[in-house]
Symmetry: C2
Amino acid sequence: MLTIGKLSKTAGVKVPTIRYYEEIGLLPEAERSAGNQRLYGTATMDRLSFIRHARDLGFTLEAIRDLLSLSDTPDQSCAAADQIAKAQLVAVRDRLVRLRALEVELERMIVQCAQGTIADCRVIKVLGNHDLCSHEHNQKDQAVQ
Amino acid sequence: MLTIGKLSKTAGVKVPTIRYYEEIGLLPEAERSAGNQRLYGTATMDRLSFIRHARDLGFTLEAIRDLLSLSDTPDQSCAAADQIAKAQLVAVRDRLVRLRALEVELERMIVQCAQGTIADCRVIKVLGNHDLCSHEHNQKDQAVQ
DNA sequence: CTTAATGTCTCTAGCAACTAGAGGTTCAAG
DNA sequence: CTTGAACCTCTAGTTGCTAGAGACATTAAG
């Protein structure tokens, strides 16, 4: 049986985050020692690794909750899991497109900065005037995280 | 003079967001009409467009606050603005690298999904077992937004 | 001139996904 | 037996907004 600290180290998830996952029901309530400390077995370890890995891949906790409930009922078709992963891929590609556009524009801003005073600083100018930025990032777009 | 609604439409920033920016001091306190409604001139319009554009480029509100205070004192060197933009570029590139890795892994997961049952679903398996994922996304990495 | 619809006001609370801190208890090593 | 690390619960804070309640302002139509 692992204490929360050991589990934290092994899974690469911080201690308060583990407690948080328990609180929101992503992890089951842990067994407790005589002194009320949480104890974990390999099942929770696996579940936590799953969560960790999915978080690395950018899945939201909600999506992870769905994936976990799917994996708890292994007899059904995996179409739903596939669907979640595909939606995630679409989101990732969308962010990629936008980030590449940002990269290009930031490069342009920086390269053209003449190292003069703020008064003719390209960075400030481009931010202040959308027309100066040759790139097509729609003003209606949301910021890319 | 524009009402907050017109400003919102023109700048592409939602009404509550404008009030929020005022609250946190990114925008100055607005003039008021006889009936206590906010009124804006072109100066605030420009400032809001600046903020909007910088948010599009992924700058945090803190970075934007710095950029704005720089642009308020146009006589100094633009090195600081350049610095902020460069840091932003580094962050963007970092996110790009991680997102590309995620894209590759998600593609692999999905392609290999045999449309069978959950029991042999590639998506679930890869998430549950880090060794199955041929890609090098360090378990210590943070999730990419 | 009145009425209705829309716009605006303030205020509080909520979202994701944690993180930080206070103040107290338990455990393992020496 | 003591010390110090690890653990407990609880509350509050983070970022960048968004949603809703209940009240007042403004505008367009009849």
